[in-house]
């Protein structure tokens, strides 16, 4: 009676102490994963990381003793309090990263066992994800793969249970694992049904360090932005790209003036747009880089809303969420329009305000203009003519100005950037009794002929004005165009070609220009296909395939089928590649003989040599012992003899084996 006792052997085999080489491996692995984050972490966190890792390595070498357990509790508390003191929170992107880093580093100090190291490796995998909260560029994706290979190699070391680490072999193994995972990952990425997020509330974090437009404008603000070559957004037009001089990308509208800087009036969402516009809409898709603010950029003048956004009474398109991630939206604009015909009195009063203590000269001049002309249009033209015909210069490096900025600029230095012209023009208009406001945004853009889209950079940042004229509403007036028509006709690059190196790919690098356009196009496709692959994009993609996959169950079904096919393919290939060598023909014959004998109940003992077994069989057990002896002799001759695998000997052996009767 047999009693079966089969314990599941899945017990913690990993309670053993960690080997010395594996500790070093995990230390290196953590350092490798955290190093790219050093610029996002406060210095003291980096010091904790380095000290903890250093201590653990020295401990491993036997140079120092392990920290006593009781010391870890105050250290962990210290780490938590430190993070809180730094950020006044322990959640959110930056504080969360710092906390995770500190705790992982401290975990090293108490990691003595194999399983502790495994957990640390898992934390390293987790750390990769934190990179994507900062950037999702192609470079970060490549870094992710490098990280995956290193971390997986560490995991393999831990499970290999060898004292010696063979680095090349390890990297080979882990690279193989990672590369084999890619096809499955692609299937999952394309076919796992996407759910629109978020699932829980997101903290509306303000993140510093992002270049972009600001909610106020003072002299020097935009010119500092213009020096940045970063991409602000990219635009795919459905039809032809409009002329350069109509590419006014509307951003924050600034209606409040305090004598020095312009700022936004309180945002008010409007329900009905006060807009008379042309029937033809320009349709396009904007891929907006994260700007850490809430404004969405659109061509003057947007006539559509997107999800989670609203339009203010000054026709500013505002997102309800801070734009911390790449955002892609479809937008339409009317390039010929009239708006704000029925502007409220309160708002018009606001756009006429100015402090009369500063810039007395400008105010005086503005008031005199109001006395000289009746029509608002004439006043506007007078000032523009002044800018055009007098010695005003458009420059990125204006001289420093004192307290009466506008006065000094208009009547003194006469050198300025778009914000100087727009600001002084708006003040002059207000002094002349014409409601005026500043609009900031971008003007122009660079056409990428490889991908047929427009690249708008921070260097395209611009400020212009809108004045309100009875029966015409708000009318765009760009004083910079009067001073430097090239800025508007050809773009910032032409207008400032003497002052700065070019921002345009074509001018910057005539030789590799095409290559760089291709690179930018790659980034654009990356944004389009990877970063914006959401529910809608997924549905678009699947419907384009025309396979009739249009719901969840179809997607999951296709997903499973594809996965099985890929794994089966892998399986077949490796089975073929790792197949055992075919046994020699004489071995096959000998095995056939053994099978014949076993049918009769004559079995070879365990670990018994086949030939010895055949020779020991007596006539009582098996009558044809002589034939058996002949077969063994022939086998020996084929296997070890001179003539080797001769066909005649083999066929003779075959016929002898066949002749054995059971």
């Amino acid at each position: 009676m047999s009693k079966t006792n089969h314990n599941l052997p899945i017990r913690s085999i990993s309670r053993e102490l960690a080997s010395s080489s594996s500790v070093f491996a995990v230390c290196f692995c953590f350092l490798f994963s955290i190093a790219p984050h050093f610029r996002n972490l406060p210095a003291w966190v980096i010091i904790i990381v380095l000290v903890a890792l250093g201590w653990r390595c020295l401990e491993n070498l036997g140079k120092v003793k392990a920290l006593p357990k009781w010391l870890l509790v105050p250290l962990v508390l210290f780490g938590g309090i430190g993070v809180f003191a730094q950020y006044w929170t322990i959640v959110g992107r930056d504080a969360g990263l710092a906390l995770l880093t500190v705790m992982t580093a401290l975990k090293f100090l108490e990691s003595q066992r194999h399983r502790d190291l495994l957990i640390l490796v898992f934390l390293c995998y987790f750390l990769i994800a934190t990179h994507f909260l900062f950037s999702q560029s192609i470079a970060i994706a490549i870094l992710m793969f490098a990280n995956l290979i290193v971390i997986t190699a560490t995991l393999v070391t831990l499970n290999q249970r060898e004292d010696k680490i063979l680095l090349a072999e390890l990297l080979h193994t882990s690279t193989r694992l990672v590369l084999l995972s890619i096809p499955l990952m692609l299937i999952l990425f394309l076919l796992v049904p996407r759910v629109p997020g978020p699932l829980w509330g997101l903290t509306n974090e303000q993140r510093g360090g992002v270049t972009g437009l600001s909610d106020h404008m003072s002299p020097g603000k935009i010119s500092s932005l213009v020096r940045s070559n970063e991409v602000a957004f990219r635009v795919d037009f459905e039809d032809a790209i409009p002329a350069q001089n109509s590419l006014y990308w509307r951003g924050p509208v600034l209606a409040q003036y305090n004598g020095y800087s312009w700022s936004q009036s309180p945002r008010k969402a409007v329900r009905r747009l006060d807009l008379n516009a042309s029937e033809t809409a320009t349709r396009y898709t904007v891929t907006l880089e994260p700007n850490g603010e809430k404004w969405l950029l659109a061509l003057d003048i947007p006539s559509k809303l997107i999800r989670h956004s609203f339009m203010t009474n000054d026709f500013q398109l505002v997102s309800r969420k801070t734009i911390n991630d790449l955002l892609r939206y479809q937008m339409e604009s009317r390039l010929a329009y009239q708006f704000g015909l029925n502007e409220t009195r309160e708002y018009l009063a606001l756009t006429l305000e100015y402090p009369d203590k500063v810039n007395p000269g400008t105010i005086e001049y503005g008031r005199s203009l109001a006395e000289r002309f009746d029509r608002s249009e004439d006043i506007v033209n007078e000032v523009l003519t002044m800018f055009r015909e007098q010695e005003y210069f458009y420059t990125l490096k204006p001289p420093a100005l004192g307290s009466n900025v506008v006065d000094e600029f208009l009547f003194g230095t006469r050198r300025g950037f778009c914000e100087h012209y727009a600001g002084s023009f708006a003040l002059l208009m207000r002094a002349a009794g014409i409601p005026a406001r500043i609009v900031t945004g971008y003007q122009g853009g660079e056409y990428n002929k490889v991908g047929n889209y427009l690249i708008v950079r921070q260097s395209d940042a611009h400020a212009w004005t809108e004045v309100w004229i009875e029966n015409k509403g708000w009318v765009r007036v760009d004083p910079t165009a009067a001073v430097s028509p090239g800025r508007i006709e050809q773009g910032i690059d032409e207008a400032l070609s003497d002052e700065t190196s070019s921002f345009r790919i074509q001018n910057r690098n005539p030789i590799f220009g095409n290559l760089l356009y291709n690179w930018d196009n790659l980034q654009h496709s990356w944004n389009d296909w990877v970063l914006n692959y959401d529910q809608r994009k997924q549905m678009d993609f699947l419907s384009k395939l025309e396979l009739g996959i249009d719901n969840w169950s179809d997607m999951v079904f296709t997903l499973v089928i594809l996965m099985v096919v890929v794994i089966a393919l892998f399986w077949t290939v490796t089975r073929y590649r790792e197949r055992p060598p075919k046994p020699a023909a004489c071995e096959i014959l000998l095995n056939r003989l053994l099978q014949k004998l076993s049918k009769r109940g004559i079995r070879k003992g365990p670990a018994e040599d086949t030939r010895a077994f055949l020779e020991r069989l007596t006539a009582r057990e098996f009558p044809q012992t002589e034939q058996l002896a002949d077969i063994v002799e022939l086998y020996n001759r084929i296997k070890y003899g001179r003539q080797g695998n001769s066909q005649s000997a083999l066929s003779r052996m075959r016929s002898m084996v066949n002749s054995i009767q059971v």
Binding site: S2, K3, T4, N5, H6, N7, L8, P9, I10, R11, S12, I13, S14, E16, L118, F122, F126, I128, A129, F132, L133, Q136, I140, A141, M144, T152, V156, L158, N159, R161, E162, T173, L177, V178, L180, S181, L184, M185, L188, F189, V192, R194, G197, P198, L199, W200, L202, D325, V530, L531, N532, M563, F570, W571, E578, R579, P580, P581, P606, A607
Partner: protein
């Protein structure tokens, strides 16, 4: 025990199924597909939880690269499932019949592990019932041996059960294993009682026929009638000179008496204690190079001497009333 928690019919069905799929074998066992099992380890489950967290975070933040990472790690887990299984597949494990040991000693199991594939196999562990495993590595188309020391707690003859060969390579997320059931005997002798000496008094107690007087020996025991054929060298010429006739000197101590190690003479005591004591006596007798025999109820082994005889006696003692033992022992009873 996996099946202990299950209702009886299901358990019986499971056991039958299990035995049918994992037949015990006298030869080396080839771990083919149907003999291999694979389940996530504790770390595998932890990894799964981490993946779920990442997945929900990716949905929440609508972060595409987080999706990429989640799916990448999930694929890595699938690939490693396959690799772990592949690392153990078609390995042949054979067991040599182990040398018998005394209960309480470690029994050394010697395995021959080999494979005929041109791939390398890493971190293959052989484990006995949750004890510390031994690990080995296989080069392409090669074999190696592994020794596993298992503690013994009961005498008897057993089939080795509860031995698994497993691997967690390469990622440790999965545990692939196969059960090794060998139809080979493992013999464990009873634990010998400590400090047992084969004293004359005790021997006499066990064996009345002990012949204490011989003509050879160290200690003078006395004189007796000279028998025809005895060497004249043993004649006490001193006594003859005294006119007492031909007398032969006899001696004690150096004699090699034959003795019976008899169950009946042991008196009271538990079965195991008696067997332990008898084991000790067998060893002592063997050490003192005396002829001895073994008498157990229903079994008698004639008086003899030497290694083979000793093993025969010890084996008889080992398996004596083995079925009476209530053993919670994972070596299966023969």
């Amino acid at each position: 025990m996996l099946s202990a928690a299950l209702p009886r019919p299901i358990r019986r069905y499971f056991d039958t199924w299990f035995d049918a799929h994992n037949p015990s074998s006298r030869d080396a066992i080839l771990l083919h597909n149907r003999r291999l099992y694979i389940l996530p380890t504790r770390f595998g489950y932890l990894f799964g939880i981490m993946l779920l967290m990442l997945f929900f975070a990716a949905i929440n933040y609508q972060n595409s690269m987080a999706f990429v990472l989640t799916f990448m790690l999930a694929s890595l887990a699938i690939i490693s499932l396959w690799h772990t299984h592949k690392n153990l597949r078609n390995i042949t494990v054979g067991l040599q019949i182990p040398r018998p040991v005394f209960c309480g000693e470690f029994c050394e199991l010697k395995f021959k592990v080999s494979h005929a594939y041109n791939s390398r196999r890493f971190a293959i562990g052989i484990q006995y019932d949750g004890a510390a495993p031994v690990y080995l590595k296989l080069e392409p188309e090669s074999g190696t041996t592994a020794k596993l020391k298992i503690p013994t707690a009961h005498r008897g003859q057993f089939k080795p059960m509860g031995i698994t060969v497993f691997t967690r390579y390469p990622t440790g997320l999965f545990h692939a294993w196969g059960w090794l059931k060998f139809d080979l005997p493992i013999l464990i002798y009873p634990r010998p009682t400590a400090n047992v000496k084969l004293q004359q008094s005790m021997v006499a107690q066990y064996d009345g026929q002990i012949s204490t007087s011989t003509i050879e020996g160290d200690d003078f025991a006395g004189l007796r009638e000279h028998r025809l054929g005895e060497s004249l060298r043993h004649v006490s010429w001193k006594a003859y000179a005294q006119g007492k006739g031909l007398l032969t000197k006899t001696f004690q101590g150096q004699a090699r008496p034959t003795l019976w190690i008899d169950w009946q003479l042991l008196g009271a005591g538990s079965l195991e204690d008696k067997l332990s004591f008898m084991t000790a006596l067998v060893l002592a007798a063997e050490k003192e190079e005396q002829k001895y025999g073994l008498r157990l109820p229903g079994t008698t082994i004639g008086q003899s001497f030497g290694s083979a005889h000793k093993h025969a006696c010890l084996q008889t003692l080992a398996v004596f009333r083995q079925s009476d033992l209530n053993q919670e022992f994972t070596l299966e009873q023969d």
